[in-house]
Symmetry: C2
Subunit: 226 residues, 2 copies
């Protein structure tokens, strides 16, 4: 229950797991890079030259409409791989939510290894499928769930991904959460307030991004599953 999946080295899908340093293949190109809070890592429709893994920090991937409406497709936390495209271009813009360090690997070298190594190839497919499954679940949320259900689903996802001892230190703002859930930041704030009053969650000290899960069962009852 309290396994720290936030620890990069404990996750199954590290870049290493892609097979880059396995058996016959030496590590081809595993450099690191750091981004300050709010800095863009890559832009939508830019050529996808690298694949990334979060070492420390958090990243948001989003699309923008011409008038500024934003839809965040995913949050990438420590250990997560992102920027993995099959076509030549990125389909999202990626930004550091907080100061973030990432590992990089050249996309071309990954492709070349995948060409000859079925294990790497299968891991690529597996990761893409995981992303697809997340997107499919998120479509149900965006298309059919109420604001309370969306926020509950978000908290359950974050609990699974970053909670330690029931405490969630969320890196993202209310606006980020809103743009992930297809809501406004006010609606997110109201939903969290309601859950606070209901005794489902609490806040640590004065930091409203430190959320404590008080009643997991009641929270789960708000998040309808398909």
């Amino acid at each position: 229950m309290f396994v720290r999946t936030a620890d990069p080295e404990s996750r199954p899908n590290t870049l290493g797991a892609l097979g880059m340093e396995s058996a016959s293949n030496p590590i081809v190109n595993l450099s690191e890079f750091s981004y300050k809070k709010g800095k863009e890592i890559f832009g939508e429709k830019e050529p996808a030259e690298y694949v990334y893994q979060v070492k420390f920090g958090a990243v948001r991937s989003y699309k923008l409409l011409p008038d500024g409406r934003r839809q965040i497709g995913a949050f990438h936390l420590a250990g997560d791989i992102f920027g993995l495209e099959n076509g030549s271009d990125h389909r999202f813009t990626a930004e550091a939510i907080v100061n973030t360090t990432v590992r990089l690997i050249k996309r071309r070298s990954l492709e070349m290894v995948a060409e000859s190594d079925p294990v790497v190839s299968r891991n690529l497919l597996s990761m893409t499928t995981n992303n697809l499954q997340h997107a499919e679940d998120h479509m149900l949320l965006l298309g059919r769930k109420t604001s309370l259900e969306r926020v509950a689903a978000f908290l359950i996802e974050m609990d699974r991904r970053i909670a330690a001892a029931g405490v969630m230190p969320l890196p993202m703002s209310r606006r980020d959460i809103a743009d992930y859930l297809g809501l406004t930041l006010e609606t997110v704030s109201r939903a969290l307030s309601r859950m606070h009053v209901l005794g489902i969650i609490g806040f640590i000290s004065t930091n409203q991004r430190q959320i404590v899960l008080l009643d997991r069962h009641q929270l789960a009852s708000l998040d309808l599953q398909d």
Copy 2:
């Protein structure tokens, strides 16, 4: 512009293109099956024993919430492949929208071929990526677009996929469209009425599912792109 992508044999991603009958591999298991209008092809969480390709007809893939709210993730038209899972179970329920004939292939045999054939393996990844891209675009629609923008995007998608000479014979009902776009059927109907009044679309004879595209440019201006 008027290429009939609805023709199964002209599409790049037929089951054949997966490599099942290529070079060294004989056709393993390509049988057919027909489903009457409204019949379920497979259910969510059922073991994924087969992969399907639509030969004639149309299929909807959807998720249900316990109280009956439905989100359609995709429509599958002639030539489309669906039911391709990486995990062992289906993540959607699939139903025939109209009387539909599908080709089937055993999932296990496909996996085995992919294991040894990089071409098949890469095609699997390519198809999964296409599905992912569609889902990502649809998240933006569901999370951030207005009802008019959603219906416009739907018509543009259908125009690309099934229009011949500007006429779209839609197989799905208003309710299906609504559940695809995260709206109600009344809202879809009102949006179509508005477009009719605006001279963007027309209806053929008395069949409201036969939509004529009258002003592609004006329609495109309603569908904001990211």
